[in-house]
């Protein structure tokens, strides 16, 4: 398992692995928002938590289609399915690698992008907390979507259509926590709900992802 994790991480970090692309996309979204809604500081501060959450979600989504597709193309996935390691563990590791290479950098970079959008001072803690709690759920749910579409040619758009509705609860609670934090309100309720969603999906989604992967590769 650790070998698989290290392999995935190494592949991502080395040239052509696409590490940092999500981060760059996140930066571009953050840059484009003031162009589209105007540079007014108050307005930007108001929408900053939501925009940052949405940007993080889209950056996660963009990197999903290479999560399993590359392994599918070169046949690694077939080997992994027949390996002694349970497939549930394989998809969990895949999700973890995705989170380390996409979700974690987003969490760490979010405060800096918050400065660009004039996020209120009180909002930084809750923003990082909610992203740190919520992005693992995005990776795990995304792995399910990637597993669903792995055998489909040009499945990228379909993947977005399938995964985005599944992201709704995570986005609602995550952005709500960040928004409440930015306006100085208590964030514990949405954070608890977000944690519930994250741990629930981490516990259950690998089974669905593995089942779907077996069906798709049969």
């Amino acid at each position: 398992m650790i070998a698989l994790l290290l392999r995935d991480l190494r592949l991502a970090f080395r040239a052509g692995g696409g590490f940092g692309l999500g981060l760059a996309f996140f930066l571009i979204v953050t840059t484009l928002v003031p162009f589209s809604v105007g540079p007014e500081a108050v307005l930007l501060g108001n929408i900053a938590p939501g925009v940052l959450w949405l940007g993080a979600l889209l950056a996660c989504l963009l990197s999903l289609d290479r999560l399993l597709a590359l392994d599918y193309e070169d046949g690694t996935l077939d080997l992994l399915v027949t390996a002694p390691l349970p497939l549930e563990a394989v998809v969990s590791i895949k999700a973890l690698a995705h989170w380390v290479t996409t979700g974690l950098p987003l969490v760490l970079a979010a405060p800096f992008f918050g400065v660009l959008l004039n996020l209120p001072t009180a909002g930084y803690g809750p923003l990082v907390q909610s992203l740190a709690l919520g992005t693992p759920a995005l990776s795990v749910i995304g792995t399910f979507g990637a597993a669903l579409t792995v055998g489909i040619k040009r499945g990228g758009l379909l993947l977005s259509l399938l995964v985005l509705p599944l992201y709704v609860p995570t986005l609602i609670f995550g952005a709500e926590a960040a928004r409440r934090g930015a306006s100085g309100l208590d964030t514990s309720t949405p954070l608890i709900m977000l944690a519930g969603i994250t741990f629930g999906t981490i516990a259950l989604m690998p089974f669905a992802s593995a089942a779907v992967l077996r069906m798709g590769l049969r």
């Binding site: 399910f144 669903l148 579409t149 055998g151 489909i152 499945g155 379909l158 259509l161 399938l162 985005l164 509705p165 599944l166 709704v168 609860p169 609602i172 609670f173 709500e176 949405p190 709900m193 969603i197 989604m205 669905a208 089942a211 779907v212 069906m215 798709g216 049969r218």
Partner: protein
């Protein structure tokens, strides 16, 4: 004779073609009588005027939009557990019907909301959950279209339906947490038996609800029959090519 004997496509087709004329007739009668009664036979509401009459389209279609997904959930489970092709095809056949029902509910709601709430659309929990349900239907249908092998497609969409159901329920509660509503509560709570609409409006509404249910059933049977025949022609064509 158990219900599982109708997992045999031939038996299913025989029964469904026998039942369908009656279903269509009953559905047409209920919907036509219910709508006419509702539109012309009931008085205008004291406050809402004649706009209230859109309820005869809105409530039954919303009801069937949810029940169609529920039916897909049950048939998907049957396909995953017992691998009856008819069951998977019934789920496939029900999805576009459910999609259209959701669309009707959304559009009639918007038409009613414009004069009554002063807005076509509000980010109200009920409205938002229906929009999300609409997206789930779209994704489900798109996945059916995208996968070439029919059995794999049935497998994948079944799991998507199960997972989607969980997330649809989750979204429903998340959305309620996120924004307070503008939409009124249900007028016909089945669980408690109490009603907030007067009998004058309730009887045609109930007739419309029954009619939409029957219409849904007839449509699904018809579409399932089409899917079965489509698959059969495909098999025959493959066989003909092989022998030629």
């Amino acid at each position: 004779m158990s219900i599982w004997s109708y997992a045999n496509p031939v038996k299913f087709l025989a029964l469904s073609t026998k039942v369908q004329p009656f279903l269509w007739a009953a559905a047409a009668m209920c919907v036509v009588v219910g709508l006419l009664w509702g539109f012309f036979g009931t008085p205008d509401d004291f406050r809402q005027g004649s706009t209230v009459k859109i309820i005869y389209l809105h409530v039954p279609s919303a009801l069937m939009a949810i029940n169609a997904w529920f039916m897909m959930l049950v048939t998907s489970l049957i396909w995953l557990v017992r691998r009856h092709h008819v069951s998977a095809l019934a789920a496939k056949a029900a999805a576009p019907v459910g999609l259209v029902m959701t669309l009707i509910a959304l559009i009639t709601g918007a038409i009613w909301g414009q004069p009554m709430w002063g807005t076509w659309w509000a980010w109200d929990p009920r409205l938002t959950s229906f929009l999300i349900l609409f997206l789930f239907y779209l994704g489900y249908i798109a996945l059916w279209e995208a996968v070439e092998d029919p059995d794999t497609a049935a497998d994948l969409t079944s799991v998507l339906c199960l997972v989607g159901s969980v997330f649809a329920v989750l979204s429903r509660y998340a959305v309620q947490f996120w924004n307070q509503g503008l939409h009124q509560g249900t007028s016909v709570p089945v669980a408690t038996g109490g009603r907030t609409v007067s009998d004058v409006f309730f009887y045609p509404l109930a007739l419309c609800m029954v009619g939409f249910g029957l219409l849904f059933l007839a449509l699904v049977l018809y579409r399932t029959g089409t899917e079965i025949r489509l698959r059969r022609t495909k098999a025959l064509r493959v066989r003909a090519e092989r022998s030629a």
